[in-house]
Symmetry: C2
Subunit: 208 residues, 2 copies
């Protein structure tokens, strides 16, 4: 039960130049993990993408796992900020604009979402942090929902949050659809689906 990943010197950057490097490396990691998945993305390629030699990469990240953790943290922070932006809309707006806001928001963070998805799925057992993030994200969405639908029992609110988060993945897949006509059509179906579902939740909240 000794701490893993303490290879030799996983030192954090101490100077401005180091922090910039780290940031560039993480950014390259986000892009590559999102594009090719955890396994297929190589450390050599990450370094190249950041215009850094491989040695610099290992200067700050003692392993591929460590890099993945950092990428995960950055993406989580960004998505969390995005959710905060939607929180006010969610509290008051009618259902259709709320659904639209939700769908639009995601378009801007598809890369981050994709990176998180691979990193969580391909390393499920490896990193307990992933499970933690999942839970906190769910709690966040549940909190937003609770404000909008106060009449709902908390348990149902949590379940709805769970399902909504899953729907995000679909939104991403739809956004990746190459044919523009199909993309628009399916996206519209997804919009309808979301509206119908949340309107039902609203009714239940008002009755409850």
């Amino acid at each position: 039960m000794s701490t893993p990943n303490d290879r030799h010197a996983p030192r954090a950057p101490k100077r401005a130049r180091g922090r910039k490097r780290v940031s560039e490396l993480v950014e390259a990691g986000v892009a590559l993990f999102a594009e090719k998945g955890y396994d297929a993305a190589t450390m050599t390629e990450v370094a190249a993408r950041a215009a850094a030699p491989i040695g610099s990469l290992y200067q700050f990240f003692p392993s591929k796992e460590a890099l993945a953790d950092a990428v995960l943290e950055r993406c989580d922070a960004q998505l969390d900020a995005a959710l905060a932006a939607i929180e006010n809309i969610a509290a008051a707006a009618a259902i259709p604009p709320l659904v639209d806001a939700f769908l639009n928001l995601l378009l801007g963070f598809e890369r981050e979402r994709a990176a998180m998805a691979t990193l969580i799925e391909s390393r499920a057992e490896a990193s307990t942090r992933a499970a933690e993030l999942k839970r906190s994200r769910r709690a966040r969405v549940a909190q937003i929902l609770a404000r909008r639908f106060p009449g709902l029992p908390p348990e149902r609110t949590r379940n709805i949050a769970h399902l909504l988060i899953q729907l995000i993945k679909i939104a991403a897949n739809v956004a990746a659809e190459p044919d523009p006509e199909t993309r628009a059509g399916v996206r519209n179906e997804l919009r309808t689906l979301g509206i119908l579902y949340l309107q039902d939740a609203e009714r239940a909240s008002e009755l409850g």
Copy 2:
């Protein structure tokens, strides 16, 4: 532009013993790809799982890609058979039992679905066959829907089919949820979602 994958002798089995071997190998491939994903599953492990030496595996499949293709075909055939089983229910039943039937059906084929998902996603460019299968699966579901909702314009039917197939992935994720209470709750939400959505489609079909 010469045909790839013609390494030396991708020969098909000619005798009963060979066919049995091939079947066992493909089966092992289904299980391992589903469990660990395309990249993480190793040929050595596939062979071990089928209680076959590595040489036997390469006797019948000249490459990992070739094995993946075979696994894909087998899973596709099984899922197609499953869809056929639901076709009659879909034509006549009320929406809620239809949704239940759909959700229940998938529980039995989760392994196959997971295997197909990895093999298609991790080899998107590699195999045009994957795109083919995707299209034919969509067409199949659209056909089932067209019978149930004849008043819908064909384009909308296709879009609904597209979205429903995406929902399958969510059903699978929900089924994998460890906590039984959460699992039941979210599954029920998904059921509600499906019912609301298809009832809307039904209304549209009757009006149209």
